[in-house]
């Protein structure tokens, strides 16, 4: 990869990391999904910054032809799309969680020792 390409991909990785961290902090992205991006992005950055490692992975993945930049753009777009989908899932999941917690708290079921469940009061 050229120096410009390296800088561009590293900049994208850093931006993605910061965005993911921001989203988790805002409770808009579930930490379990966030960790996928954080680990993946850090792995990619390590791979890019250690040329022998990149060469080894390239050889191991039997890449015969250089990847066209158009493919990289598609990969970036796909990554952003996946983050967006995870955000939407996290937002809905958070709503369900809050609703479930609120229902539980507002409708406590009191179980008397003598008479069994008596319902909320």
């Amino acid at each position: 990869m050229t120096a410009v390409g390296l800088v561009a991909v590293t900049a994208f990785c850093v931006a993605l990391l910061l965005w993911v961290v921001y989203l988790i902090r805002q409770d808009r992205l579930y930490a379990g999904y966030g960790v996928i991006f954080v680990v993946g992005t850090i792995a990619l950055m390590v791979l890019l910054d250690v040329p022998p490692l990149l060469r080894a992975v390239t050889a191991a993945s039997v890449v015969l032809l250089p990847v066209p930049s158009l493919t990289l753009i598609a990969l970036v777009a796909l990554t952003l799309l996946v983050v967006y989908v995870f955000i939407q899932i996290s937002v809905l999941s958070n709503r369900v969680m809050r609703l479930t917690q609120e229902l539980a708290i507002r409708n406590p079921d009191y179980h008397n020792v003598e008479t069994g469940p008596s319902g909320p009061r």
Binding site: I24, T100, Q101, I105, H111, V113
Partner: protein, 245 residues
Amino acid sequence: MSMSTAPRHRTLVAIPAYNEAATIRNVVERVRQNLPDSDLVVVNDGSGDSTAAMLDGSGATVLAHLCNLGYGRAIQTAVIYAQRAGYDRLVTLDADGQHDPAQVRALLAEFDTRQWDVLIGSRYVLKREYIGVPFGRRVGMRLFSLLVRLMAGRRVYDTTSGLKVIGRQTFASLTKWQFIDFHAEAIVYLMRLGYRIGEFPITVDERRHGVTMYSALSHIKYPLKTALMVVLGVVEASLTRKRPS
């Protein structure tokens, strides 16, 4: 069960339960015997077995999650409940019967005497060794203990203990942010906010029924998620205004 009209400190004992039909009744009865002055709430976290039926006539208040939200959210439900009902402290206990409710009195006494904000019932604080713990878990416990020390400046030996006393002053912080399991990530977050967190020695029994909440995959996912949340907790706490001392 009515809300306590109780004396000096209103205490709520909370037991998060997920598919614990085999043990929950016994745990509830032991809590009622040993802590008659405390109110008791069971957070039934979407159990698919007969946990709910086992609680009939037990004297416990049940907060029922319609679906399984996980241990951390179950504890958070209890914290929100305790906060809204005006309790002074919340005691969390595992539903699998590993914790002896008889030890809670000593824990509460220590909590009051030393004025802790959170007191953890610790299996390892006395020996400071993870003896008898399976190798993989031992490595994890050491790593998280080290992580807490690195991030919060003080070592906590038992970051995964389910037996805790939580003071009301921390309720707001604990309901504001997401925590996975109320373990290392919550400990670091609270310590960085300036709360005092202590450990008090306890003993635990072996689990006799049911299965642990950690699946094979979670042995990889859990450390990664927790480590990320610990780091984010430090950031979050730094951005949050410190409580007045």
